[in-house]
Subunit: 307 residues, 2 copies
């Protein structure tokens, strides 16, 4: 069972009401891989980095079973860099600097030894890059999960709609679901998006949890109430990594199993926000993950015995 | 088993993106009584109305087992009137007119036949009025639930803190929990509020569900995802009515049973928002309530079988 992860590997520099991170490792594919590596191996990473990306970070991911054959290293260029500042509510942020660097002309190449991967997750990237990956897969993966963002809806909607037709699960946040569908009600938005290609839709609502829609079914998973959200960066990608990692581990892509996968993703995301960047999720143990998932069971479990 | 409900009975006039209500019946005690009457009887209503309040509304509540002995009728005065306008997100609203009328000098009187009531809910009113009710109860009810709002934190915090010391369950929204505690994190806010008197705290988050805190335990109930929220007015009071109605019916005030009561409250609130005012909850059937509660089970239920 293998999982292919496509996305960014980056430098982040983050300011929150709690402090400043300095220049740390980030990127969608980084968070996805760290989260998923707790459940599945090998992970086939597809990304691009510059000569300034630390070898120690690559070694650390390799040690967790993440293959780097599909990660292009452009020795003389710089890694994608993003810096941002969060407001007090931790749900809104300003981007301060976005230097695409190596990402500007990223042409992903799927190595031969990645072919036959049964699970594929397309992290947030241009729809053209996402489509290029799909075109290179000789055999359609059993499950294709896609993330995207409002920016691509504004500048590349036609391409985005083409990719949408080819994926099984779309993950967006509530604002993006509204923008993509033109519907304010998330239920109506979901109904419309489920006609655009994906059979499953996950709407992420940050601290307000996540919704999974499929046919006429809906499932809701809360976010774990925490003393403090220290840094939300990467929480959505960590959620995605836990979600697809659990599916790849259990090899069951039914709606029922996706519910559990969403709880697993929520548990992983709840670790991510406890520290800056990948600090917490790279150190989390299996016991901690199980304990956190049990907390989710306690959080939502109730007995019903109506007379 | 009887339940005493203290709160307003009012005229509301509401504008939402979906339409205008005209002058309709509202008020916290009205919504609480309609919701709770599906579970418990008698309900001992304590409120004040003017001569302009329709007899048909009083008769309708009486027919549902709501006693009116504690509702003062001031023939020559006008009923409390509120009008407001909701924004597109349905979570924010502007008050257009607030005419206190009979509410301005409301002195609640608990009739002798209300004494011995085992459940008491203090709807949102001045802390002085809430305290006056508590002072009149010859025997402390088994469970006292209290609602309040940010306005009383601003103008009557000392009185509010005194009432808080005497109640078992406090219900507030997320902004009010933050204001009352001075903590941004809802987990920290809850910890602090649970030292102020109440043993249980419910934080209502509107379309984002509700949290129940008790000692070191936390429970989360989502709001039902709906095609449209037509009118949120009274949803919090309807939630409260379903909550305390279910507790009064089952006579079980354990944390475990409160979880179920919160689901029942959420189900009742999900009906409330489907139409203007009390239109939907006064017509809801037991079968519809059961079906909606089952939808909540489906919404949050998942299997966990971690290897």
């Amino acid at each position: 069972m293998s999982l292919t992860v496509v996305g960014t590997m980056a430098f982040d520099e983050i300011e929150t009401p709690f402090g400043k991170s300095g220049k740390i490792i980030g990127g969608s594919a980084t968070f996805i891989a760290w989260a998923a590596s707790n459940f599945v191996s090998p992970i086939n990473q597809v990304s691009v980095i510059g000569g300034d990306f630390p070898q120690s970070e690559i070694d650390a991911l390799k040690a967790k079973g993440v293959a780097m054959d599909g990660v292009q290293v452009k020795k003389d260029e710089k890694t994608f860099y993003w810096s941002g500042k969060y407001h007090m509510d931790m749900n809104t942020r300003d981007s301060l600097v976005t230097d695409l660097n190596v990402l500007a002309d990223f042409q992903p190449v799927i190595p031969e030894n990645y072919q036959g991967s049964e699970f594929l997750i397309l992290g947030n990237l241009t729809p053209q890059v996402q489509m290029s990956v799909l075109d290179q897969m000789k055999e359609r993966p059993k499950l294709i999960v896609m993330d995207t963002m409002n920016f691509w809806m504004e500048v590349a909607m036609d391409d985005l709609l083409k990719v949408l037709k080819k994926v099984d699960v779309l993950m967006v946040n509530d604002g993006e679901a509204r923008q993509l569908s033109g519907e304010y009600s998330l239920v109506k938005a979901a109904r419309k998006i489920l006609t655009m290609g994906p059979r499953f839709l996950i709407i992420k609502k940050g601290e307000h949890g996540a919704l999974l829609f499929h046919e006429n079914h809906v499932f809701f998973a809360p976010a774990m109430p925490l003393d403090d959200v220290y840094d939300p960066t990467g929480a959505g990608d960590t959620f995605a990594g836990g979600f697809i990692g659990y599916l790849a581990k259990t090899k069951d892509i039914s709606f029922e199993n996706m519910k559990t996968a969403i709880i697993v993703g929520s548990a992983m995301a709840s670790f991510c926000v406890e520290k800056f960047g990948t600090e917490r999720i790279r150190a989390v143990s299996k016991d901690e993950i199980h304990a956190r998932i049990n907390q989710f069971v306690q959080l939502v479990n109730f007995d019903i015995d109506l007379v």
